[in-house]
Every structure is written in structure tokens, then in C-alpha cells.
Amino acid sequence: MDTTIENSNLKSEDYFINMGPQHPATHGVLRLLLTIDGEIIKKVEPDLGYIHRSIEKMCERDSYQQIVHLTDRMDYLSSHINNEAVCLTVENALEIEVPERVKVIRTILDELTRIASHTLWWGVMGMDVGALTTYFYGFRDREMINDIFEETCGARLTMNYNIPGGLMFDIHPNFVKRVKEFIAHFKTKLPEYDTLLTGNVIFQKRMKGVGILTKEDAISFGASGPVARGSGYSCDVRKHHPYSALDKVTFNEALRTEGDSFARYAVRIQEMWESMSIIEQLIDNIPEGDYKVATNAVIKLPKGEFYERVETARGELGVYVVSTGTKNPYRVKFRSPGFSNLSLLNHISVGGKIGDLVATMATLDLVIPDIDR
């Protein structure tokens, strides 16, 4: 719509700009087509597929053991949890009961993954709104977790530590000691996050009351993870459909009701405290036993359909496997949390400014390979 400035022949009109695919705030190859009127956003249209690899089609050709390796190329910051989702699907389909030791180790590593992902998010989110120091704080603490991962399974990012039936190998003798060291370290460092960024007046003004998502819209958009919990929607898969050792621990689901960018931020900060609490409850009581149960070299799932849900650092990951009884799945669908969370970006950023779009998008914590798959 054209708006005419009073007593002047000047008038403004809508125009389009490209944000991305190579934009520092999109953290990956995401292209947003913005329709703007001056500085005001009228429409945000994501254009996807820049790193689409069709993992779902590749799965139809691969064995179940191979599929595990593809999943950590989706949401690479939650690689261990993604691997676990596929392993749980296979184990539940074959009715394999994995040893207690495996369940506890998996849950500890899940929560370490979540902390690592949230510290990285916190670092880059601060950077997106102009606070460069957060980046170094976040990466300093994440480095300790990556070192633990490296010692455990040899990889720092794409872990592939889970296999159907258990774990690739047993934990390193230093594992318990180093995890405890990390928890003790991070308990003194996480309050610094609040001192540095959370209480900052400029930061709060950019976060509070911006990008508001109501609970009804969050549910309708299929939002999950901290994005939905910031709007007061209790959707933690760890609470509602506990898997691995999560039925043995007590923790609070981080919930806020404001639905703005600050609520999503606060939920993730609280989640890091809860994750530390879960690890502390388990780390001294890792049961003795085997680290895997033997499975057939060629895994064939029975005929039927299997669905498994896990909570990654970004929200609910669903694995839907249709099997015809052969060694390859007939169809695999990954319901990725980022895809649904991205779909609400237009809804919460229309009417705001371009600078707010950057901040709002940072609180959605998008990982583009998770969206493109």
C-alpha cells in the first residue's frame, strides 16, 4: 500500500530484499524474502533447500545401522539425540531391552548435548544483538563438553556413539571425573551468563515484548521445544513420553507464559540448570553391565509402522518408519523441530523492524540442515 507524506509529492512503497542465503544472522544457508515498507516488515517468506540432501530418500536405500549415521547431519548440534531417536525406533520395533547402563549413559550424554547446544546458541544469540563477548564465553564452556565427547567416542560434533542395541563402545575411565569437573565449572559460569547479558537493559529492551507467540498459535504451528515452552505450552517429550533413563530422574519443565523473545531466552537458560540437575542425579549411579546387546548383523524390522519421539535441544524430533519386513525401510520421515519452528517466523515478526527480526530469529535457534534435511 502506498503511503503519501503530508504536503509532499514523496511517497513510499513496498519493496523486496533478500536476507541470505549468506547472511550472518541466519547461521547457515537460509534465504528469507522480506517484503518491507521502510523499516517495517510486512511479510517474511523463507526459501529453503540450499543444503537439502534428501536424507529421507537416502534412508530408503540404506540399512538401519547406516541410517543412524545420516541423522547427525540433520541437527548437528543435537547429533547424539538424533542418533538415539533412530536407535530407539529400531529397538522398540524389535522389542530389544537395552541394559540399564546404556540408558543412563545415553541420558547423561543427551543432557550434555543439550547444554553444549544451548551454550552455542547463547553465544551466537548475544552476537546477533551486538554483544560479542558472549560468543567467547559460550564457546569456552562448550569446549569442555566437546572434549568429553572426543574422549568418549572420538568425535566432537557428529558423534555416532549410539547403535541399535546399545553403544558403540564403553565409556572412557575418565568419563565420570570429567563430567563432574564440567558440572562444577559450569555451575560457577552459568551465573556469569546472567550477569553479562540477561540483566543488561539494552538487551532486555530488545527482547521483551518482541516477537510474541500465543499458546494457541504455538500449538497450531506445531511449535515444540523452548519456542513452545516460552509460550506456556507444556510439550517436553522428556516429561510426557519419557525414554531411556528419564523415568529415573526428577526435573522441572522450564515454562514461561509471556511468549516473547525474552521468554524463549529464559527457558533455555533454565533448561541448562535442569540438564545439570539430571546429570548430577545419574553420574554417580551408572550401573555396571554390558554396553550393548547383540543384534543381528542384518537388522530387519517386522512389517508395520513405528513412530518414536525424542526431545532434542530444539524441540520434538519424530522418526516415522514404515517397514515391509526387509533390511531397508520402505519410508522414513523425520519430523524435525526446526521446520515447524521456522514456519511461525512470519507470524511473529510481521509489523516489527528488521533489527527485531534478527533478534527474534535468534531466539528460535534454527539449525538449517535440520530444516532442509
Binding site: G49, G222, Y233, H240
Partner: protein, 153 residues
């Protein structure tokens, strides 16, 4: 609510639905394409079922038929259901959109259109989402052949 009582309520709306729990952990409903939209809006709005959370929408190619599988959950009652719809027309498969019932279906239906070529009536913005506009064919169909990009073992 148990699967048994869910089945009783839903079959009272549309009698000719097929129910099965075989080979799945959820209650499965198969619905005819022309009744899809009516069933879906009743599942959402009826206070006893109240399926307000569409957590997965998958395109399917069953060989002869194409179709869509909807996974639904109620955030108030915490029960789950799976709705399947099958289309025998592979040349011009068409379904009604459910994006007016659940906003998340907007993107998910575009993904299904992109990979399976199923068109959705009344969809607000039905165009390719991941692939380029001039892409030939629908890659997740079982009869799709691409000798350059696909590694066949």
C-alpha cells in the same frame, strides 16, 4: 481417552471409516479423500477428541496409491491418533488442505507437494518449497529415476 472409546465417537460421525491398530502403536483411521476435511475439522473442534496438535504430516507412496499420513495429538487429553488418506490417481492426485485447521500444515503440505506431487485444494501458497521451480518429477515417489543425482546400489 482409550482407543476403544475414540473409535466409538469418531465412527458415530462418519460410519464408513476403517479403523485398525494392527502393525502400529496408535489407532489408525483410513478416510476417503472427499471426507477428509470434514473429519479433520471435527477431530479438532469436538471437545471430546480435541486433536489440536498436528505433530507429523508425511507424504506416502504405497506403490499403487499415493497418500498422506497425519499424526495428531490432543494437548488437553493427551491421546494420539493417525489418519491416513489414499489416492489412486497418480497423474493428478488432489486433496483438500488442512492448513486452515492447523497452521503447521501450510509448510508440511508444501513439502508433500514438492516431493510427491500431491496438490492441495484451497492451499494459500502451494509452490515448491525445497526444490527449484523447474525441477522435473517428484523425488520421493517410488518410480522416480534420476541417473545423475541418485546413487543406486
Amino acid at each position: 481417552m482409550t482407543n476403544q472409546s475414540l473409535q466409538e465417537i469418531i465412527s458415530s460421525w462418519i460410519p464408513e471409516l476403517e479403523f485398525t491398530e494392527e502393525g502400529s502403536q496408535f489407532l489408525n483411521i483410513t478416510v476417503q479423500p472427499e471426507q477428509l476435511h470434514q473429519l479433520m475439522s471435527q477431530l479438532k473442534t469436538n471437545s471430546e477428541t480435541n486433536f489440536d496438535y498436528l505433530f507429523c504430516l508425511s507424504g506416502m507412496d504405497w506403490g499403487k496409491e499415493l497418500g498422506v499420513v497425519y499424526h495428531l495429538e490432543s494437548t488437553t487429553h493427551r491421546h494420539t491418533i493417525v489418519v491416513k488418506v489414499k489416492l489412486s490417481d497418480r497423474e493428478n492426485p488432489t486433496l483438500d488442505t488442512v492448513s486452515d485447521i492447523w497452521f503447521t500444515a501450510d509448510f508440511h503440505e508444501r513439502e508433500v507437494f514438492d516431493f510427491f506431487g500431491i496438490k492441495f485444494n484451497n492451499h494459500p501458497n502451494l509452490k515448491r518449497l525445497f526444490l527449484t521451480e523447474d525441477w522435473d518429477g517428484f523425488p520421493l515417489r517410488k518410480d522416480y529415476v534420476d541417473e545423475i543425482n541418485m546413487v543406486i546400489k
